[in-house]
């Protein structure tokens, strides 16, 4: 489980995260909130790109913030980004293998692990094909494969289905839902698509203006008045 305690991030006068305290238990957890609520900021803190002004994050007992950013992948932190990051000039295989080789995993198992990840992600493409030849949906799946290869412990998914047509979104939802059972990792999903969040996440937390305003079973959270108000901006 991931324990976040009093996490605060300040950026030149703006408080992006305000004393966020939350525990992610297990499985796939959703993290939602209006634009600018601090969700990507939270991910950036976890990735090590932003140093918080205060607070701690303990992941499976380890102090995550004490680790150098590139070492977190070795520990088992994986992440996808809002804008696609698969490397165009390399092949699908090399894209996924790169995460494997830089995470200090066993060379002998590399081929098997990489192909396993590609298959799990549901990517139907020649692993030797260069990513630049793939369509947007397939590139997203390459990202997902990179996120699940090897032995991940914490998988962060930042709007993975953005821009995908419904059919592919649904298939992606299936994959995301199965990440914890397939890899043993805890997954946190940030997205605006409520049907995706409902389909994948057992529990969900809601941020608004950097503050945590709700958390618990997804269905209940999505019906919560405070959450609805935050999204619609309605004063009741």
């Amino acid at each position: 489980m991931i324990e976040v305690d009093g996490l605060t991030v300040r950026f030149g006068g703006v408080t992006s995260l305000d004393a966020m305290s939350l525990t992610f238990e297990q499985g796939t957890c959703g993290l939602i909130g209006p634009n600018g609520a601090g969700k990507t900021t939270f991910f950036n803190v976890l990735s090590g790109f932003i140093r918080p002004a205060a607070g701690t994050v303990r992941a499976f007992g380890t102090d995550l913030l004490a680790m150098a950013h590139f070492r977190r992948a070795r520990w088992g932190l994986r992440r996808t980004f809002q804008t696609e990051q698969a490397i165009e000039e390399l092949s699908v295989f090399d894209n996924v293998a790169m995460v494997h080789e830089h995470s200090g995993l066993n060379r002998g198992h590399r081929r098997r692990d990489v192909l396993d990840a590609i298959e799990f992600a549901g990517l139907d493409a020649d692993p030797e094909a260069k990513v630049r030849t793939l369509g947007a949906g397939q590139r997203r799946l390459v990202e997902v494969a990179r996120a699940v290869v090897g032995r991940p412990r914490l998988v962060l998914l930042d709007e993975p289905a953005a821009g995908l047509p419904d059919e592919e979104s649904r298939r992606l939802a299936e994959v995301i839902r199965r990440i914890p059972e397939h890899t043993g990792a805890l997954a946190i999903l940030v997205d605006h698509d409520m049907s995706l969040v409902s389909a994948c996440c057992a529990t969900t937390a809601v941020l608004d203006f950097g503050k945590l305003i709700a958390s618990g079973p997804t269905a209940a959270v999505l019906r919560d008045d405070a959450v609805i108000r935050a999204y619609l901006g309605v004063d009741q």
């Binding site: 990735s47 790109f49 590139f70 980004f81 790169m98 830089h102 692993p127």
Partner: protein, 351 residues
């Protein structure tokens, strides 16, 4: 999909060399052979010397291409690094009787060490600041060299004797004393440097560089120690430039700080951008623009300033339209031309 994965899961067999690869390899080999054995035969000594300079600066452009094209680091002072390499080589050539090749290697290693030491703190800076620090460092080196001068056979650490009347020329390797022979020597060393870069690109560092170039945060998230790989690129580029300096010392025999003016680093960056930073041939194109064209114009009595203006325009053109440069654009254009001609010819022969 299962079938695809099963096929891929077979132990990686030696993939057959594809036809484009074969053509590319043959053309490259042909050009190399022609350069080594054909060119010196019908070029005057003036142009042989020029082409030796092309070989030297193709290595510098190669190094710059690794930095700019592979990792996205802009160096505004590569000529100063070249000067350091040349200085080290000259000092060793005067002070010792070591074989030339060894001296060249040592010049490369010392330059690499210097580059790495500078890179250690400098590479924590972001793009623009890093470029500016290379400008600043290069400027510093230029001032120091102007004061300290290049070795001229004197004694002491600096090897410079200000009151010396007869300055000995920097020696050449015994197997490559004549100008055409030295030209071949330079080309072979250049080929080795290109092969070294190719080896990097096709393996782990090359892939890491590709990831960093695409997006540094994503590379970090993939577990890549981006600072380390940038440092590696920096070290490689410094080594290659140092080697080039070593070759340059023997080429021109006499080194003066005016051989390495500050504006040359800017011009070199310009031609490297124009030649194309992603392809290895781009470095050769850059060196031809940088050394061969001025020599040509000089021969015809036209001022080289026109080239400077052209290079300035070239930079603007490359940055606003074709980021991959000429070496990438020309093959694409030729390929398109080839397809067009083929279609024309087959249409003509249809019944």
């Amino acid at each position: 999909m299962r079938a695809t994965l099963e096929r891929a899961a077979q132990p990686r067999t030696r993939r057959a060399i594809t036809r484009p690869q074969l053509i590319k390899g043959t053309v490259t080999a042909a050009i190399i052979l022609f350069t080594l054995f054909g060119l010196p035969e019908f070029m005057s000594l003036y142009y042989v010397d020029t082409m030796t300079q092309v070989a030297v600066y193709s290595m510098v452009a190669l190094a710059l291409g690794v930095l700019v094209g592979r990792v996205g680091l802009v160096s505004l002072g590569q000529v100063a690094v070249l000067a350091v390499g040349a200085w080290v080589a000259a000092r060793l050539l005067f002070a010792t009787t070591q074989p030339y090749l060894l001296v060249v290697l040592e010049a490369g290693l010392v330059t690499m060490l210097a580059g790495t030491l500078i890179g250690l703190p400098a590479l924590r800076l972001r793009g623009l600041y890093l470029a500016l620090i290379t400008l600043m460092l290069a400027g510093g080196i230029t001032v120091v060299l102007a004061t300290v001068n290049f070795p001229n056979g004197g004694h002491g650490f600096l090897g410079y004797n200000g009151s010396q009347v007869h300055i000995p020329p920097i020696r050449r390797p015994s197997i490559a004393a004549s100008d055409p022979a030295y030209f071949r020597y330079s080309v072979i060393i250049a080929i080795v440097m290109f092969a070294l870069v190719l080896a990097h690109i096709k393996t782990k560092p090359g892939r890491a560089w590709a990831a960093i170039r695409q997006s540094e945060p994503a590379a970090l998230a993939a577990g890549i120690n981006t600072w380390f790989y940038k440092l590696w690129a920096f070290a490689l580029a410094s080594f290659i430039t140092g080697v080039a300096g070593g070759v340059l010392a023997g080429a021109i025999h006499y080194l003066y700080s005016i051989n390495f003016p500050a504006q040359d680093s800017i011009t070199l960056l310009a031609v490297t951008l124009m030649g194309g930073v992603f392809s290895l041939w781009g470095a050769v194109v850059a060196a031809l623009l940088y050394q061969f064209l001025p020599a040509l114009l000089n021969n015809w009595g036209v001022s080289a300033d026109w080239l400077i203006i052209l290079f300035g325009v070239g930079v603007l053109q490359v940055l606003t339209t074709a980021p991959a440069g000429l070496a990438d654009q020309v093959p694409k254009d030729l390929a398109r031309l080839g397809r067009f001609l083929r279609r024309r010819l087959t249409r003509g022969s249809a019944p």
